[in-house]
Assembly symmetry: C2
């Protein structure tokens, strides 16, 4: 599972870029007809789902990769996103990627939005969303 396949290379490049706030590098891994879906966002533009990334990263203290599994044209990462004590959420996340010609054509992000719903309701419309 540690062989550097094109799928693994693209997904890892995207994942690392996203969590250091490098939108250009993350977007460069996105292919034609891309779709994104999470509990909070549905987007079909290459970077629409990365809007507000800086605000999210402003409260993230670490990202711990728990699992990475790769197929020929898909991958699933499981990771914990830890946030600052003031937020206090550890978001266990599953991220499923579909790829075509070495580029990401679909991402589905799965996590429990319930803790965020409570925080966003309390903080109002300027709260960061994951």
């Amino acid at each position: 599972m540690t062989i550097e396949s094109p799928t693994r290379h693209t997904v890892k490049t995207y994942h690392r870029a996203r969590f250091r706030g490098d939108v250009a590098t993350a977007a460069a891994q996105i292919g034609e007809g891309f779709t994104f879906r999470s509990p909070f966002i549905t987007s079909d533009s290459p970077t629409g789902h990365l809007d507000g990334l800086d605000r999210l990263l402003g409260i993230v203290t670490s990202v711990e990769l728990i699992s990475e599994l790769y197929g020929e044209t898909e991958a699933t990462l499981i990771y914990d996103i830890r946030t600052a004590p003031a937020v206090g959420i550890t978001q266990r996340t599953a991220e499923h990627f579909r790829l075509h010609d070495g580029r990401i054509t679909a991402i589905t992000l799965i996590f429990d939005s319930a803790p965020w719903q409570a925080i966003m309701a309390a903080a109002g419309p300027t709260a960061p969303s994951p």
Copy 2:
């Protein structure tokens, strides 16, 4: 990704048994020191997380497998659980398995609990929980 490895065999056997309500076959895939974690349940008994399975299956109309990826000692399934119109939830789910000696030693279930929280709050303590 369709080679029948021991990991794949155990995980598929568990998955199918769970969704037809066959607790005995599901539990037979569980190994020593098992832990289970989901947004609603933390359990370390072989079948504690399967309590109330009948109530859940009573509202499930179909399970659509979206992705299955296998490593040597782990696996991740992504699937949609569709529920009866009265419930109206399609629960996109990620299920991560760790295995040892061909048996499942840990399951982490990731899904958005927010829609269920609302339903359970409205229905009270007898509502089925996923």
